[in-house]
Symmetry: C2
Subunit: 302 residues, 2 copies
């Protein structure tokens, strides 16, 4: 097994109704890789600027992430995002974005990563995702994330990408936008007509829906009274899911269900503190413990 | 076991993005009682006007609902509601309301209903709910529904009621409004501080959350590609839940979980057609069949 993620590394400033955090380590690639690291090795392809703080490298090392695909670009600055969550934490707005290195050429993919088997293309321009995909000819599973911006402005490129990936991960509003189908269950079925063998629709605190040729599954979110910062929930969910799939080398429908559950567990921890602070504190057995509780919660008996 | 519901009977006109239905039988008491009837006998206390169509009485008879508490008030007209669902069927607006008999004195409760043990007070003014409750001195479980209007305008009366009931059923927005707590898991915990032993928070297509002294449970909605009319989903959910509790005479935490699942199943059928059209077609074994599928969906394995 060899899991790789191509994604962003960011420096986030986050405002919530009750607290604020400045310049914390974030980005889709970071949340994904940290989450996946609980299940096995993970490679990260991403670029940062020369301003990227040394202590954040140490955080990535803490999770054992393979950083030989991390490009530190001189003359560039790291991606920055400032966002604000509303009283209803499902709603957020972007206050400021500095694309910086994300607006430049995509990161280089080291040649020794060509043997990567499990590939996750975190959200970026679908043309860039397509190009990145070409670097992994030995892949056995490729899954992409996307967002409303590309669905609205780059639909042809996105549709091309969907013909090439095995799975798509996106949120509920994006799934409806992509398929123009307001019923989420039908929207999920429509996605399969676009190419992927499965789609996972993220519903935030309401959990996730999986549609696969063999059937469909909805799992609820873990009921968490302690939500501090939802940033990275979707990426850590995807990281937990892909990490589990890569570790078990089993992409059957039943194993996808378990992968969804593990993704849900990692994401539920991730939102309990800003940035990676909570994931830094936990180990695999914490995930197993919460999963036992979750399994029991969903056990309807005979 | 003897289950009773006090609620409304209405004549609804419903607009959805793809269809329309005029003057269909509806109302909280009707949806609840029809749903509960799959599990055992159910008594309905409600009032209609002299205009109430004979064929709708036949529908209520079809479900075997005990109608000795149905008051047909001469000189009055039946409650009428006209509503419209948006493209996103989770959003609806009321186009017109004629309170009619609902704006008059509450229905009379027959004396032979005093021995009712399982009592559901569907949504109405909390003072009226409190008065209705007095008619059931032998009750072993009393559960109430409520709505944003009463939370906003009749909070003291509602708080008094909450001290007297065992369970509260309400939707997510109402739970946050009642407790002024934006996190739903915390909101649920707060409700228990107001008196009830348990609360069930309905989340529409996203399922339901149960908070009980013994723990909490979130169950997802049944993923239904065929949503025709969401009217009555919440009331049929409550009817299925209470019907199962009354039939099993077990209000333990574990049995509440199963009751939630049955409520979810009945509601999932109810929304597949206008009014009671779908519930009229099914039998208990259809519920069991779908529940098996739902149980399998949630089975994470060992």
């Amino acid at each position: 097994m060899s899991l790789i993620v191509t994604g962003s590394i960011g420096i986030d400033s986050i405002h919530t109704p009750t607290a604020q955090a400045n310049e914390v380590l974030g980005g889709s690639g970071v949340y994904f890789a940290a989450a996946a690291s609980f299940f096995g090795p993970v490679r990260l392809v991403a670029a940062v600027g020369e301003d990227f703080p040394e202590q954040y490298l140490e955080v990535l090392h803490h999770f054992g992430i393979d950083l030989s695909g991390l490009e530190r670009r001189s003359g560039s600055r790291t991606f920055r995002w400032r966002g604000k969550y509303h009283e209803d934490m499902n709603v957020r707005e972007t206050l400021a974005v500095e694309l910086n290195v994300l607006g430049e050429a995509p990161p280089l993919v080291p040649h020794h990563y060509r043997d990567s088997q499990y590939v996750f293309l975190a959200n970026t321009h679908p043309n860039a995702q397509m190009e990145l995909l070409e670097h992994f000819p030995d892949r056995s599973l490729a899954v992409a994330d996307t967002m409303d911006l590309w669905i609205e402005t780059e639909r042809p490129a996105l549709l091309k990408l969907l013909e090439r990936v095995d799975g798509l991960v996106l949120n509920d509003a994006e799934a409806m936008l992509l398929t123009e189908e307001p019923n989420l269950v039908r929207a999920a079925a429509e996605v399969l007509n676009l190419g992927p063998s499965f789609v996972v629709i993220k519903k935030g605190e309401h959990g996730a829906l999986l549609r696969h040729g063999a059937g469909q599954i909805v799992l609820p979110g873990y009921p968490n009274p302690n939500v501090v910062d939802p940033t990275g929930a979707g990426d850590s969910f995807a990281g937990g899911m892909m990490g589990y799939l890569a570790a078990t080398q089993d992409v059957s429908f039943n194993n996808l269900r378990r992968a969804l559950a593990y993704g849900t567990m990692v994401a539920s921890f991730n939102i309990e503190a800003f940035g990676l602070d909570r994931l830094k504190q936990i180990r695999r057995h914490h995930l197993e413990q919460r999963l036992d509780e979750y399994r029991q919660m969903l056990d309807l008996g005979p």
